[in-house]
């Protein structure tokens, strides 16, 4: 019924037949059962569907799945380190940045992509960088604290390694 495509999600290859009009969001949730990536507006206005393509954040509801072939797709399910949480995931919990949790997967990935691009953001740069991910529960304060702390911790680690 569609195009034979191999999608590499969280380091694992999946061979699928995908329709030309199927979004990456739809494939992740309904074809691969990876429901960690959330659905809401389905038109790029809220951010809950955020995933990473080769480390850069995208709205998976606006990406055609066939276009993701050959790219590294990272979803929230791919963040945890073996046997534990990523530093961002742990920081979100430590700072009370998770209430209902619906924005959390997208927010974590957006933060991950932002810190890759901008390792030492100011608060204003951080807020700007996360402005494409809506949160209705937290008012953003605890999320900002969590990400700023991780930025500092990563910076300390880098300094240690270089020192």
């Amino acid at each position: 019924m569609g195009y034979p495509v191999t999608l590499r999600v969280n380091g694992v290859d999946h061979e699928l037949e995908i329709g030309a009009d199927e979004t990456l969001l739809h494939v992740l949730r309904y074809r691969l059962g990876l429901t960690g990536t959330k659905e809401n507006c389905l038109k790029g206005e809220c951010g809950v569907c955020t995933v990473l393509l080769d480390g850069a954040s995208v709205y998976s509801c606006l990406v055609l799945a066939v276009m993701a072939q050959g790219r590294e797709i990272t979803t929230v399910e791919g963040l945890a380190r073996a046997g534990g949480l990523s530093d961002l995931q742990a920081a979100f919990l430590r700072h009370g940045a998770v209430q209902c949790g619906y924005c959390t997967p997208g927010m974590l990935l957006a933060a991950e992509a932002l810190l890759t691009q901008l390792p030492c953001p100011t608060e204003a740069e951080l807020r700007q960088g996360l402005s494409g991910n809506l949160c209705r529960c937290t008012g953003y304060g605890r999320i900002v604290e969590a990400v700023l702390e991780v930025a500092r911790l990563r910076q300390d680690e880098r300094a240690e390694r270089q020192g």
Binding site: K38, C41, G96, G101, Y102, C103, C137, G139
Partner: protein
């Protein structure tokens, strides 16, 4: 008594949420599941002449198409049973469900909708609530008198609620006044804005029952109403609340569940329905718009001698929570003030708009915006500092409020003082970079309730020393059920809160709870759970006493074991006690049940109210400093402080979360959010047009907690879920007034409105 602060960062549901495993409504799938979609009216008011579903029913992949003729002819609702399942003879708002389709995919269902032909004869549009109240207005519900309703609801024609509070001699007060201030304020319809769309999934089970998974905050209410709709005893229905991606009151009431259930019974397959964002903004229970007229009689020294308030809530086509909102709005209109003479009239009115519902502190942000802006205006006209004016009028401990209730735990002075101190009240703002930027500070205060309502909890222990907490209340994101209550239970049992397992919100498996609403969860479920924990503790200590050959009174539960007081090494771990109990019939279970306090009020003063008194009231004061660009009308919130009386701090991060989140929603309502309607239709049914605040729109918020314990809450807790959303509208409006001299009378205070107000202020004589 303090609470184990190790629980401060505890969220038992946190790990599953950060790894993406938590199962929300739209995540649920069942084998063979069908997808349902609703056909919604494009006409806001009209008579249905004909519906032809034959083409839709023939479409491959469609398994059922239902119209009003195919479903029970019942009406249900919030407090008035005025809602049909599917529009029968009339449609009353653009977006009203007319038909429902179940198909093998959402795409086929959507295509089927396009094949349904509906003939509607348009009727005159009623979209102004003040016009709707007139005796000659077209009736939205011709048969309104035949509807059943909750006790105390007063209604007539298009007026679906009318609550009054009257006390003292209002005429004398106005006769004695040195100043009379009369104003009018309005607020727009806004949406709860949860990021998870509403969803339900129903499956008929082999035993002839029906199971419904729902993103609901009130599983027991859904069960009751669904059973009534299906015409079966409640025991035939099981409702399970999924993990909820935000509710804020918008997911209290029944909506999708009946369609899913009826389609599941019709097709023999599980049926799921998920709302789209467009449907949410067009048709799903937003916060009612309001018009508040307020008139105050004031003495020269600032004392309010008398106040008359008329509030109109635009409830939309179906009353929803309207009567409750009118009732609560009337209490909010009193404010945390002593006013010897009052007359409050709060109305709910039908119009041809989406049926409105409950949203965090229903009725409060609307009325508080009016009352607290009004207080500020009174202060300015008298030349009195706005903080000082409030302090001259606030309730004192033991005062009788105008509804006759005696108010205790009054902390209004303290929260005002703390907020004012934190914002630097009285100190001028720093100079701005440009003459078109003006800065100013404003403040506002409020009082609110801790809703009661029955709650039962069970607590039992496992052989490994872990403890299971079983409650009918759903965790909706606040952490009350997955952090606060487990902390309280852990404290009573002497265990680490991370050893608590929570089972919640399943009408088969968990006991009754009134639901996650009204800022009640930590208080009421906390009380029930503490009673259950104490009941369990008593049973465990009796067992331990037998084993250790001491009296139970010589034992205490500490650090995971029953220990002899003064000789803690003589102990039996909890798990071991459970193993002993296994041989005696099984691990003991503790039960706690209660219905909460009854708050006395004067029923001569309060008439036709479904919520006549605030239980265990809490108090709040907010202050902000804004910078207004008088050329563009843009408002930047530089600093925001929120002081809240929470009674007792159980979970600091939980409290901060409620304050920051509630303020953010309040700022959205204050500055940018509105559902815009024209000709009976929603103009902006998407998130590009309906502006939810993003991370750049919300400033840092400084949370201040004050503890003036409640009389009966666990450790003196008061509810904090709702209050933070109440003051921001007036706080920002008052700050804008201070910055620019312009008083804005309507929310949201968009740049256009700000510019208009500045313009008008410039024309007024000095």
């Amino acid at each position: 008594m303090s609470v184990n602060t190790m629980g401060s960062a505890l969220r038992l549901d946190g790990p599953e949420k950060v790894v993406g495993r938590a199962a929300y409504g739209p995540d649920l799938v069942r084998p063979g599941m069908l997808h349902a979609r609703l056909l919604r009216s494009l006409v806001p008011h009209g008579r249905i002449l004909a519906i032809d579903t034959s083409a839709a029913a023939r479409l491959p992949g469609v398994r059922a198409v239902l119209t009003a003729a195919d479903v029970p002819d019942v009406r249900f609702g919030g407090l008035i049973n005025d809602v049909p399942l599917l529009a029968r003879d009339k449609v009353r708002y653009q977006g009203e469900p007319i038909a429902v389709v179940a198909a093998v995919s959402p795409e086929v269902a959507a295509e089927a909708l396009s094949l349904i032909d509906v003939q509607i004869e348009e009727l005159p549009l009623v979209d102004d609530p003040e016009q709707a109240m007139r005796p000659d207005a077209p009736l939205i519900h011709e048969a309104w008198a035949s509807y059943t309703a909750a006790p105390h609801v007063e209604r007539e024609g298009n007026i679906c609620a009318h609550t009054t509070i009257a006390r003292g001699d209002l005429e004398a007060a106005f006769a004695a006044a040195d100043l009379v201030v009369e104003e009018r304020y309005a607020t727009a319809m806004v949406h709860q804005g949860y990021l998870e769309p509403r969803a339900a999934l129903a499956e008929a089970t082999p035993d002839g029952r029906i199971t419904v998974w729902s993103t609901t905050q009130l599983p027991f209410l859904i069960r009751e109403q669904l059973a009534a709709i299906l015409g079966v005893p409640v025991g035939r229905v099981r409702v399970i609340a999924t993990t909820i991606g935000g509710g804020f009151g918008g997911k209290l009431r029944i909506l999708l569940e009946p369609y899913c259930a009826l389609l599941a019974l019709r097709t023999g397959r599980p049926v799921r329905m998920v709302m789209s964002v467009e449907e949410e903004l067009v048709a799903d229970a937003p916060r009612a718009a309001s018009i508040t007229a307020v008139r105050s009689a004031v003495a020269r020294d600032g004392r309010i001698l008398g106040r008359q308030v008329r509030v109109i809530f635009d409830c939309g086509a179906y009353a929803g929570s309207g009567p409750a909102i009118a009732s609560v709005g009337a209490l909010v209109a009193l404010g945390p003030y002593r006013v010897p003479a009052v007359r409050i009239d709060a109305y709910g009115v039908y119009t041809n708009k989406a049926n409105t519902g409950s949203y965090r502190a229903p009725g409060a942000p609307q009325v508080n915006f009016a009352i607290e802006s009004h207080m500020d205006e009174i202060a300015r006209r008298l030349g009195i500092d706005p903080l000082e004016l409030r302090l001259r009028n606030v309730l004192e401990e033991g005062d009788q409020a105008a509804n006759g209730q005696v108010v205790r735990g009054v902390s209004i002075r303290e929260v005002l003082r703390r907020a004012a101190e934190a914002i630097g009240w009285g100190e001028p703002s720093a100079p701005t970079e440009s003459p078109s930027l003006r800065r100013g500070k404003g403040l506002a205060c409020a009082w609110w309730t801790t809703t009661q309502g029955a709650s039962t909890a069970y607590v039992r222990a496992n052989e490994d020393g872990s403890v299971v907490l079983v409650t009918g209340c759903a965790e909706i994101g606040t952490g009350a059920i997955t952090a606060g209550v487990p902390q309280l239970v852990a404290e009573r049992l002497g265990i680490d809160p991370s050893s608590v397992i929570v089972v919640s919100a399943d009408t088969d498996a968990t006991p009754y709870d009134y639901g996650a609403q009204g800022s009640r969860s930590l208080y009421m479920v906390g009380l029930a759970a503490v009673r259950a924990a104490d009941d369990l503790a008593e049973k465990l200590l009796r067992l331990a006493a037998e084993q250790l050959e001491v009296a139970p009174a010589d034992l205490e539960l500490r650090q995971g074991a029953a220990r002899v007081r003064g000789a803690p090494e003589r102990a039996i771990p909890l798990g071991e006690l459970v193993k002993v109990a296994m041989k005696q019939g099984g691990p003991p279970i503790g039960t706690g049940a209660l219905s909460g306090v009854v708050t006395e009020y004067d029923d001569h003063c309060v008439r036709h109210s479904t919520y006549p008194a605030f239980h265990e009231p809490s108090f709040a004061a907010h202050a902000a400093e804004v910078e207004v660009d008088v050329e563009t009308g843009q408002v930047r919130v530089l600093r925001y402080v929120a002081a809240h009386d929470v009674g007792h701090v159980v979970n600091p991060l939980g409290i901060i979360g409620q304050i920051e989140g509630g303020v953010a929603q309040g700022l959205g309502q204050a500055l940018s959010e509105q559902i815009v309607m024209a000709d009976g239709g929603v103009v902006n049914p998407n998130l590009a047009g309906y502006r939810l605040p993003s991370a750049v729109n919300v400033p840092r918020i400084e949370s201040i907690t004050v503890t003036s314990p409640s009389a009966h809450g666990p450790l003196g807790v008061k509810g904090v879920g709702e209050p933070p959303i109440i003051p921001p509208g007036a706080t920002i409006a008052n700050a804008i007034r201070a910055a620019t001299g312009a008083r804005i009378h309507a929310l949201p205070m968009t740049p256009e409105r700000v510019l208009q107000a500045i313009d008008e202020a410039g024309k007024e004589p000095a």
